[in-house]
Symmetry: C2
């Protein structure tokens, strides 16, 4: 990248190291709360987008079909989702969030939002503004990347 911003201060490598530290931290905080990253992500998607076929969910989450079968099995065992047989195509399985699963996602998300907000109180206003702009921008980028 050839612009003043990248050349002064924030090299790609420095940003990558920063990013790696962030990811590491988030993973640790994430796993602490009793819901794994994989479960949290899949359950969040089911909450946002409604019931989905297992294959569709696997593709959306970027994992293999067997991996999703097993994740759904664990989440079903824990009462977070249920499998619903499709009436028209009997090969298909619809996965839907239970009330308890949806509650758990909501609770965790608000806990984490609070934790992030507490963290961000330690930033100065300029940095805070930067975070509010940067995170959605980056998320938009990777979303575009994922659908390539």
């Amino acid at each position: 990248m050839h612009n003043e911003v990248m050349e002064s201060g924030g090299s790609g490598e420095e940003l990558v190291v920063a990013f790696e530290q962030l990811v590491r931290y988030v993973r640790q905080v994430n796993t602490a709360g009793g819901l794994s990253t994989a479960a949290s992500s899949a359950l969040g998607r089911l909450g946002r987008e409604g019931p989905q076929r297992l294959t569709e969910l696997a593709r959306a989450e970027g994992v293999s079909q067997p991996a999703m079968t097993q994740l759904v099995t664990r989440m079903e065992r824990d009462g977070l989702v249920r499998r619903v047989a499709s009436t028209d195509d009997r090969r298909c399985v619809l996965v839907e969030s239970t009330d308890s699963g949806a509650d758990l996602v909501r609770r965790r998300r608000s806990e984490r939002a609070e934790a992030l907000e507490r963290l961000m109180e330690r930033l100065d206003p300029k940095e805070r503004t930067a975070v509010v702009i940067a995170l959605p921008a980056l998320a938009r980028l990777v979303q575009a990347e994922a659908s390539d």
Copy 2:
């Protein structure tokens, strides 16, 4: 958080969702290159900070001692690190990066830096500046959090 920035546009919850998407994406890209997140992080640390005792490395990486024993065993098997017996305290094991391990970290880091730079070319200048400010600021926060 009670300020204009958080109230207008970037709620904590939206930012958390954005963050989760980023983490998910980075993990996938990360794992693709043949070096796991755990190995990459530990190896990067050994490169930056030099040889360390196994317990120290485990604490720094935020994992248990047995987890680090096993990670080091796998990395040693793959020729990325070596165990060096300590002469003064014979209970201790020093873990150090091999040349091949250090090379791999350097190569991967520059690949990822390039990937990030290519991604960031799609942002407008304002967003790009925001990312360059936000990532190091957040990394600094979680580093402070980790040492609490």
